[in-house]
């Protein structure tokens, strides 16, 4: 169900391929990268040694983000579990172009 106070609006980031942690120990807490926008509104994502250029897309069919209720308790799997609508997504940042690798010489010390 939706909340009466208004649902949060999230954004979708669509990337090619898979996301894998650089270090072992899983994804949680690890950095993905920096997201910039050009003055023309083009999203630019720096992930590891790659630069990705994308575009902002208004979704024709928005998404609802569903979260399983009672997470942690034993629940029936699949669609028969109970879900709550946490947020709506009306915009996505689509990165379709092949990532451009960043050629570095010597990493600049901060």
């Amino acid at each position: 169900s939706g909340g009466a106070d208004g649902l949060a609006q999230w954004v979708l980031l669509e990337l090619q391929g898979e996301v894998e942690p650089r270090q072992s120990g899983g994804l949680a807490g690890s950095v993905l990268g920096d997201l910039h926008y050009t003055r023309q509104g083009i999203p630019v994502l720096i992930v590891g040694h790659h630069i990705l250029y994308g575009k902002v897309v208004q979704l024709e069919k928005p998404f609802a983000v569903l979260v399983k209720e009672g997470a942690g308790e034993s629940q029936p799997a699949g669609p028969h579990a109970r879900y709550a609508v946490t947020a709506l997504i009306k915009t996505k940042l689509l990165f379709k172009t092949r990532p451009k690798p960043i050629i570095t010489n010597v990493p600049k010390k901060v």
Partner: protein, 390 residues
């Protein structure tokens, strides 16, 4: 430790990007603590559903273990299907778009955004017919035979409240409530019931006999008098229910009247006659039927669409009971069933038995094109099965 502005600027320099060409605000994206847990999933919304959610209304996923899940809004039902994408979809709370950043010049220049989750698939929705056949099936488990019934009243396990039906039927609330009205269900002691056919005919008969003895017009049957005269024979709620089922309620000069549905009454009486044998001689049936309907009503074969079928190929012509309600709900199963009853159908004969399968904006013709093969017999177009029926 969270990234600092200095680290961000260093990265920009290494990447040879010119900060002057960028908006001042950067989002530092990292994975939130629950990101990998898979507790979130995406549901693609059909038109109208987004607005419903924003208005605070609920969507419900319904389905037992052996059923394909459907999603229900207040008044519509959708099939759910997983769509895979070769891309990775990450969902990010609090991430701003360029427009939002431009609107807010005073915003700070680092936003630390935590990715809440990611997926390479999402639920897709497709509007479907509500799965309502189960509704009649549940209510037929224990049809109501009236207060004098000999049945054991302590067996209540087969009775359903509105809440029960909402959790068991794969349809929206509005679709369910509408269907309850269509099948003339009524509430008895808080439970939805369908009347057992003989009891229903008994009630109808009380009313039609009273109409005749009072010489009322069929379009002006007074509720009050019916309740007075028949209240000693049957519960008043049942008398009112039968009037509502077989008539149109209206108010004239402050009094409640019913305009009786000639077609529906004749149809019910036909069912009563036809259910007693496998088939009938058509002309004999028509004679008995006309004699059985109330005075002033005309029994016509077109009143029996979806209830009975005439066999024009037999000599003499015959008629037999075939209720669309008793046929399968699934499209292919329905056609298989119809073609096993009769090999070739005219469009006129088959239409009442497939009309309910039409999706929104789908025609009977489209269904026939998909599920049947047509040919011409004696100058008439007929339809038969696409595949051999055993």
């Amino acid at each position: 430790a969270m990234r600092s502005r200095a680290e961000v600027d260093a990265t920009l320099q290494t990447a040879k990007l010119n900060p002057a060409e960028l908006l001042p605000t950067v989002h530092c994206l990292s994975f939130g603590p629950q990101a990998g847990a898979g507790e979130c999933c995406l549901l693609q919304l059909e038109p109208g559903l987004c607005a419903e959610l924003e208005a605070g209304r609920s969507l419900v996923i319904r389905g037992e273990k052996d059923e394909q899940a459907v999603l229900c809004s207040k008044d519509k039902t959708y099939d759910m299907k997983i769509a895979d994408t070769s891309n990775m979809l990450l969902f990010i709370p609090g991430c701003k778009t360029p427009e939002q950043l431009n609107d807010n010049q005073a915003s700070c220049n680092i936003i630390h955004s935590q990715i809440a989750g990611f997926s390479n698939n999402y639920w897709e929705l497709r509007r479907c017919r509500p799965k309502l056949k189960k509704l009649r099936k549940l209510l037929m488990e224990d049809p109501y035979e009236g207060p004098d019934s000999q049945k054991d009243q302590t067996l209540t396990f087969s009775k359903y409240t509105t809440e029960d039906l909402l959790s068991l039927i794969q349809a929206s609330e509005e679709e369910i409530l509408h269907q309850l009205q269509v099948i003339d269900a009524c509430k008895v002691e808080g439970y939805w019931r369908i009347l057992e056919f003989d009891y229903e005919m008994k009630l109808l008969n009380h009313v039609t006999q009273l109409i005749e003895s009072e010489s009322w017009s069929l379009s002006k049957v007074p509720l009050c008098t019916c309740l007075e005269e028949l209240g000693s024979l049957e519960p008043t709620e049942m008398i009112e229910h039968i009037l509502l089922s077989y008539g149109r309620k209206y108010i004239d000069d402050g009094e409640v009247y019913f305009e009786m549905h000639e077609d529906k009454i004749c149809r019910a009486i036909a069912q009563m006659l036809l259910q007693n044998a496998v088939k009938f001689n058509l002309s004999e049936f028509q004679e008995v039927w006309q004699q059985s309907v109330p005075e002033g009503m005309t029994a016509r074969l077109d009143q029996l669409k979806g209830l009975a079928l005439v066999d024009k190929s037999s000599r003499p012509e015959t008629i037999f009971l075939l209720k669309v309600d008793n046929l399968p709900e699934d499209n292919q199963d329905r056609f298989n069933s119809l073609f096993s009853i009769r090999e070739k159908w005219t469009e006129e004969d088959i239409t009442p038995y497939i009309q309910d399968l039409c999706a929104e904006k789908q025609t009977v013709g489209a269904l026939l094109t998909k599920y049947a093969r047509s040919s011409t017999q004696n100058g008439v177009r007929v339809y038969n099965s696409r595949r051999p029926i055993s």
